[in-house]
């Protein structure tokens, strides 16, 4: 971990002004911001740990807890909202039994809402593991979840 962080920090010439991008790279490397990593960043940048935590908790992009294997980001920008994103968010929360911003206990899924991805023509947009899915519907979201191994309970009886 020490070496990885040294590598990231040196990319920014150990300039504490780049704390936010440094933490982004650290998060990318470790999937979240482990406490030890933050302490290491503080030591290497000579910035107090309190400042690091202030920044790590202020910005939305950072997570201090481990995130799931599959990342689902639902765009809730205005254009997606007026096309019914809230209804889809409710549906995903119901199926995964977590709230937006949380991770399932088995660490399989993290579900988050994002403000605007700028793909408004495709709204509502759901990004699953960095792949965009446009014109989202409840049915399509369920299909995606099914494919990723989350069985969606529904009335499948044949009559």
């Amino acid at each position: 971990m020490e070496a990885k962080i040294a590598e990231i920090v040196s990319k920014y010439q150990s300039n504490p002004g780049f704390l936010v991008p440094i933490l982004q790279d650290v998060q990318k490397a470790f999937n979240y911001l482990p406490r030890e990593a933050l302490q290491e960043v503080g030591t290497q940048l000579k910035v107090p740990i309190s400042r690091i935590f202030e920044v790590a908790t202020f910005y939305k992009a950072f997570s201090l807890t481990p995130r799931g294997r599959h990342q689902m980001h639902l765009c809730v920008g205005t254009a997606c909202h007026v096309r019914g994103a809230a209804m889809i968010g409710d549906g995903i929360e119901r199926v995964l039994e977590i709230k937006a911003g949380e991770t399932t206990a088995d660490l399989e899924f993290t579900f988050e809402t994002v403000n605007c991805l700028g793909a408004c023509a495709l709204g509502p947009v759901l990004v699953v593991d960095e792949e965009y899915h446009g014109q989202m519907t409840l049915a399509k979201a369920n299909k995606i979840l099914n494919k990723l191994g989350k069985k969606v309970v529904s009335d499948e009886e044949e009559d």
């Binding site: 910005y59 205005t78 254009a79 019914g84 409710d90 700028g118 495709l122």
Partner: protein, 618 residues
């Protein structure tokens, strides 16, 4: 490393050389590869084109460009075939060989890929004849479709960096500032502050170094023109910044860009490297003795960081909290040094002004709003996309002539401008001209250019609540009126949406809104009440329907609606019963179904699944 360009004259020579290398008669396929089109799966089409061109041995005869966003996001994936500018929309991988065979080699137009005018039902062959493009004035955004954003040669070949050569080669710094003042350019990020004045104040301020910053923290939900400019034409933004730095006397620049825009980060990073290699950024630019370098700083996903002093805090590596503004950023900004902060689109306007002249620029637009503005036209609109229009055009022209009206023939209700700081404008004001001052008069604002169209299925109370919930999450928490006030206003709206509102709530919302605006340091709190105040002003009847009649006329607020089956329309297909998560929708095959209100959680799944319009929301 490439040889650095050492004088403006040498730059001009390079431009004409690069221009001369392009044969204007040669067929060129330009495919839109902006984020929107990439989300449609354009990468696979790009790969297919490359394979096909290679397989047929057409390299050198047919040019192929992956360009930035063309703007007409609704119709992606799309290609324009030059020199005739034949426009194909919604193309698929399998169309690729046919496009090359018939159109590129055989000069034949493929009818089914053409845009069909929804009104006249006619197929339109050329890009510029499509009404969506025809009514626009694409001065800033137009080059996006012509160049590869990753190629500085492409930018130079269309005359890029001429303005820089002109400024450095023959204009004193003050003359550049005077040109921007005469052009009456105003900030495109939302505030609309005169850009030239800002530059002048920074130039005259004491302190060293001076900073110029590009604000690319485009946080407005529903606005993406800055991203598309950075992705599609990064050198135009860079050129504007270098000219600005020259005029102001700045040696250090920053671009503060959202990390959620990976392609924009990639393209602007590359653009800076290319410009540095050619000596357009760095030491002794064009042999003039003027030096300027730029760093990129990626944001952390905080909306408030679009605000100037919060942005500075973020670049300094701190939490993005704004500070009081009695000291201007032009005197003490980043690291307490004189700082000029302008938005992406503002910077991209600068080369135009220098190149074509301040008087030409000032001839476009209205009395106090000059030039063009790029809007992202989104929501309930047929032609979703980015549109660049001259200031002074009416909202009606944008929504109906360019946007093609409301989908499915539904009724227009409102257009929301200015993002969370703006307001909702009703049909009665559709003929108002769009400029900074007119939109403010209507209780909204220009903002960064989001334009979200809403129809009769959108509840205005819900929209107001949506923006407050957004701002509640984005308030940095420093000023109590903003932090606590927005929360309380949102709770009141929540109650109204639950059917537990009281008529006096409307007065409370109005005075609270005023108090929040007065008691907040930055524009986030200062404009936060706008969405609530404008919806009360223009759509009071909808609030009253929620409060007095306990009804949501648009059928959105869950507590006030019920789902039922229209027995006339129901065919008994079981689609609703299959998707219902709570077994509320039931019924035998080929018999009319029912929804048990006690079990129904109003998730909307049955409404979405029904193909016969039999699910009624009331």
């Amino acid at each position: 490393m490439k040889k650095k360009i050492e004088s403006p004259a040498e730059l001009t020579r390079l431009q004409s050389e690069l221009k001369g290398r392009i044969d204007p008669a040669q067929p060129c396929i330009a495919i839109c590869a902006g984020t929107g089109c990439m989300a449609y799966g354009t990468q696979k089409i790009v790969d297919r084109f490359r394979e096909e061109i290679q397989a047929r041995g057409l390299e050198g005869q047919v040019a192929f460009r992956t360009t930035g966003c063309h703007g007409f996001c609704e119709k992606g994936p799309m290609v324009v075939i030059h020199p005739d500018r034949i426009f194909y929309q919604r193309i698929g991988i399998d169309d690729v060989p046919e496009i090359i065979e018939k159109t590129v080699l055989g000069q034949e137009v493929i009818e089914r890929l053409l845009y069909k005018d929804p009104v006249t039902k006619q197929r339109i062959v050329h890009e510029h004849e499509v009404p969506f493009y025809g009514r626009q004035m694409r001065l800033v955004f137009g080059s996006n479709g012509l160049i590869e954003p990753t190629s500085i040669e492409d930018y130079l070949a269309i005359g890029g960096y001429s303005a820089l050569a002109k400024a450095i080669g023959g204009m004193a710094p003050q003359a550049v500032i005077d040109a921007v003042i005469t052009a009456k350019l105003r900030g495109r990020g939302g505030g609309g502050f005169p850009t030239g004045w800002k530059w002048d104040a920074t130039r005259k301020a004491e302190g060293d170094p001076k900073y110029v910053i590009c604000n690319a923290d485009e946080g407005d939900p529903g606005a993406y023109m800055d991203r598309s400019l950075l992705e599609g034409n990064p050198h135009s933004v860079l050129e504007g910044m270098i000219i600005g730095a020259y005029a102001i006397g700045s040696s250090h620049g920053y671009i503060y860009v959202r990390n959620e825009y990976p392609l924009a980060v990639k393209n602007i990073t590359l653009a800076i490297e290319q410009a540095r290699d050619l000596g357009l950024v760095g030491e002794n630019i064009l042999g003039s003795g003027f030096s300027f370098d730029i760093l990129i700083n990626r944001g952390g996903g905080a909306f408030v960081c679009g605000e100037s002093s919060a942005l500075f805090a973020s670049i300094e590596g701190r939490a993005g909290e704004p500070r009081a503004k009695y000291v201007h950023a032009t005197d003490k900004g980043l690291y307490d040094k004189p700082t000029c902060l302008n938005n992406v689109e503002t910077w991209a306007n600068v080369p135009l002004i220098i190149d074509k002249g301040a008087d030409w620029y000032a001839g476009i637009g209205t009395e106090n709003s000059k030039g063009t503005k790029i809007f992202s036209l989104v929501g309930k609109i047929n032609n979703t996309g980015l549109v660049e229009v001259p200031m002074g055009i009416t909202l009606r022209e944008i929504v109906y002539d360019i946007g093609g009206g409301i989908p499915k023939g539904r009724k227009f209700k409102a257009v929301q401008t200015g993002g969370p700081s703006g307001g909702c404008i009703p049909e009665a004001h559709l003929d108002s001209p769009v400029d900074f001052d007119e939109l403010t008069k209507l209780g909204s604002m220009m903002g960064s250019g989001g334009m979200i169209v809403m129809d009769d299925r959108n509840c205005m109370v819900d929209v107001a609540k949506y923006f407050l919930a957004f701002l509640e999450g984005e308030s940095c928490g420093k000023c109590t009126p903003c932090r606590e006030g927005i929360l309380q206003m949102r709770k009141i709206l929540e109650r109204i949406c639950q059917g537990e509102g009281r008529m006096e709530d409307l007065d409370t919302l109005q005075w609270m809104g005023q108090a929040i605006a007065d008691g907040s340091l930055c524009a986030l709190g200062g404009s936060a009440p706008n969405p609530v105040l404008t919806t009360i002003r223009y759509f009071r009847d909808e609030y009253e329907a929620h409060i007095k009649d306990k009804k949501c006329p648009a059928g959105v607020c869950k507590a006030l609606i019920t789902f039922s089956v229209d027995p006339e329309a129901c065919t008994g297909c079981r689609a609703c019963a299959r998707v219902c998560p709570t077994e509320a929708a039931t019924g035998k095959k080929k018999e009319v179904h029912t929804i048990d209100a006690a079990k129904c959680i109003k998730c909307g799944a049955c409404f979405e699944a029904c193909k016969f319009d039999a699910i009624k929301i009331a």
